[in-house]
């Protein structure tokens, strides 16, 4: 296993899809050419692995090229949800079809296994596998099956746990459980406790050689910090390129624990503007005022799927260059 450098660089999860693949997966399910899509998805994953390695990313992701969305992919694949065809507004002119949970899972909870094996066979570098956490899987969809939110989250946690067990048996060492919804209902302590319990059930007894990340974005982190530290993750990947003063203030009051890592977001994942190396370097140096070099991972704010392909590559390129400059200064 390779030794990671100081300030290891990773991506968060999603990366832009080829336009024809994006168009194809937006079509109604019955109109989709699954065989063609599988080929296109494999080609896109393989392409992003080559791209990330050529850029100098230390821990790669597969870019989630085969997921229509971070919730529907799992819920549909496990057989426990149907997709409502009346898409729901998200932002601008973008609408998303929502899954509706209608039954317990009917399909094996090993969706990610062959994608991990596909990516691992092509990667020279370490891979990080991303899976959506049970709290977000519940919060971002509709539910007509479970009696309440907690019951749904804990049931879904069991399904995620099965995905994770299969991945670890196949050799996964870096695992990211995405819980962006954790930063939303911070006014309801019971909700946070459910989310924490869900992740605990997934992570209980995992081998020590597995590094568990969690990722959150576009929320008021300061409202859930330090409570978020009850999540059993070793590394917290947060969207911090435009870090709120309130977050820095609370980090001064409650310093981040020395035994946990911070995946510090240094490029905006929604803005297609490519930040300069100097801008990104300044963000890393700001991070170093609050975290030791040994604690820090460097990553984009979030998955880069919504920015154009060339902008995503350029952002990663500048992120790598900025990190190298800071590493040199630290050496």
């Amino acid at each position: 296993m390779s030794q990671l450098p100081v300030l290891p660089i990773s991506s968060i999860g999603s990366l832009p899809k080829p336009p024809d693949l994006f168009q194809a997966e937006m079509a109604p399910l019955e109109q989709q050419d699954r065989a063609w899509m599988r080929q296109a998805q494999e080609a896109a994953v393989a392409d992003w692995i080559v791209t990330q390695e050529s850029l100098g990313i230390d821990v790669l992701v597969d870019g989630e090229q085969y997921r229509r969305s971070m919730t529907t992919y799992f819920l549909e694949g496990w057989g426990c949800a149907d997709i409502d065809l009346d898409a729901v507004w998200v932002l601008d002119n973008m609408y998303g079809q929502r899954a509706v949970i209608k039954r317990p899972a009917t399909e094996p909870r090993t969706l990610l296994l062959d994608w991990y094996q596909f990516a691992a066979a092509r990667a020279q570098s370490e891979l990080k596998v991303t899976v959506t956490g049970p709290y977000t899987l519940r919060d971002w969809v509709f539910d007509l099956h479970y009696p309440d939110r907690a019951a749904a989250v804990l049931a879904l946690a069991e399904y995620v746990r099965e995905e994770v067990e299969a991945l670890i048996a196949a050799g996964v060492r870096y695992l990211q459980i995405d819980e962006p919804a954790f930063v939303t209902r911070y006014d309801q302590p019971a909700e946070l406790d459910v989310a924490i319990e869900g992740m605990r059930r997934i992570c209980a007894g995992l081998p020590e050689h597995v590094t568990v990340f969690t990722h959150m974005c576009y929320g008021a982190f300061h409202e859930v910090y330090p409570k978020m530290l009850e999540l059993p993750a070793q590394v917290f990947c947060l969207e911090l390129a435009h870090v709120a003063p309130e977050m820095l203030e609370i980090l001064r009051k409650h310093p981040f624990p020395a035994d946990r890592g911070m995946g510090y977001g240094v490029v905006d994942a929604q803005d297609p503007r490519v930040e300069s190396v100097e801008e990104i370097e300044a963000r890393i140096r700001l991070a170093l005022e609050y975290f030791t070099p040994e604690q820090l991972w460097i990553n984009p704010d979030c998955g880069l799927q919504v920015v154009p392909h060339d902008a995503a590559v350029a952002k990663l390129q500048n992120l790598v260059e900025a990190t190298h400059r800071v590493r040199q200064a630290l050496a």
């Binding site: 601008d92 002119n93 911070y186």
Partner: protein, 336 residues
């Protein structure tokens, strides 16, 4: 008990709607700005057609007080920005705890109003299409302020007062156009971080109410528990009504807070969960109304969705609205 709605509606069915297609076409040929959207006659024509469609759908569902059916280009914050010359609208931010995102304003100076916001002309169009009362919804000045990137003189009491003046001018224009009701969306003030913003919300609400003394101005507070803010809200001079959320986790705390209700304000009771696809039964809605009207007289209550139905698929939104209307109207009969 009258039945009303709470802000805009979902439009697409199976991914399609003429307005969605028109916005896609528009942003393919121009740089999308609030002013460009306002100036685009083709786009506005499709928005007007959409209003007619949504007014008819609300009427068919049995709604008594209708939303104008206005669907903005991108989002309300984006479109409202055309009222302020040279205002920068920045990237979308997540709104409350929803999975929806709105373009926030960059307030780097004291804002000056150029003209009315698009909701005023949308109201006029809606009023020309129906005889039913219409209640337009404006995102409140405090919400825009709370989410804004405020810098320099844009982060001063004068800047907030200028925002309030803009909103008051819109409310006055709506009243002049015949609006008997206006809803102001200020749910953000119930979030823990923003509760300290109550004095600003109160300042804005009082100013808007005074700008249209014959119009019932309803401040709507969804997705939160009002708690100790209920009394100060009810003390806002001229406030015509308050919208509260009686669904999900907020039902119990808001019912408890309601014990302090007093005065003549309207309670817009959000009893249909606008963020859950499951359609309540009429019996469940009656149970909720029983609990509420045990405290606030039924004649001062409106039955409503808990927040905008935008968070639901279109078919579910209107099914929910129709069930709500049946339940509220049969509740009237039950009480008689």
């Amino acid at each position: 008990m009258l039945v009303t709605t709470s802000g805009r509606f979902p439009i697409v069915s199976n991914g399609q709607h003429p307005l969605r297609a028109a916005v896609e076409e528009w942003r393919g040929r121009v740089t999308p700005t609030p002013e460009a959207a306002w100036q685009d006659t083709k786009l506005r024509a499709v928005q007007a057609e959409t209003q007619a469609e949504l007014l008819a759908a609300q009427d068919e569902a049995g709604t008594d007080i209708l939303d104008p059916g206005y669907v903005p280009v991108y989002d309300e914050w984006f479109q409202m920005a055309r009222a302020v010359p040279n205002l920068e609208v920045a990237a979308p931010l997540r709104y409350l705890d929803t999975n929806t995102y709105y373009h926030h304003w960059v307030l780097d100076r004291v804002p000056k109003r150029k003209g009315e916001s698009p909701i005023v002309s949308a109201y006029r169009h809606a009023a020309s299409l129906t005889d039913a009362p219409i209640k337009p919804t404006l995102f409140g000045a405090y919400t825009i302020w709370a989410y804004a990137d405020r810098q320099g003189t844009g982060d001063t009491p004068e800047a907030f007062a200028a925002l309030v003046d803009m909103w008051a001018a819109d409310v006055a224009a709506l009243a002049a156009a015949g609006a008997k009701y206006v809803q102001i969306e200020e749910s953000v003030v119930l979030r823990p971080k923003h509760r300290v913003g109550f004095p600003l919300v109160a300042q804005a609400a009082e100013r808007m109410a005074s700008a249209a003394p014959d119009t019932t101005v309803v401040v709507h507070l969804a997705c939160g528990a009002i708690g100790d803010l209920l009394e100060p809200f009810l003390e806002i001079p001229g406030l015509g009504g308050l919208g509260l959320d009686f669904t999900d986790a907020y039902r119990a705390p808001n019912l408890a807070a309601l014990m302090e209700w007093r005065g003549d304000a309207i309670l817009q009771a959000g009893i249909a969960d606008a963020r859950n696809i499951r359609v309540e039964t009429e019996a469940e809605l009656h149970e909720n109304l029983d609990a509420i009207t045990a405290i606030v007289p039924a004649e001062r209550c409106w039955a409503a969705p808990s927040t905008t139905l935008l968070h639901l698929p279109r078919h579910a939104a209107f099914e929910k609205l129709a069930t709500l209307a049946r339940a509220a109207h049969s509740f009237n009969g039950k009480g008689a």
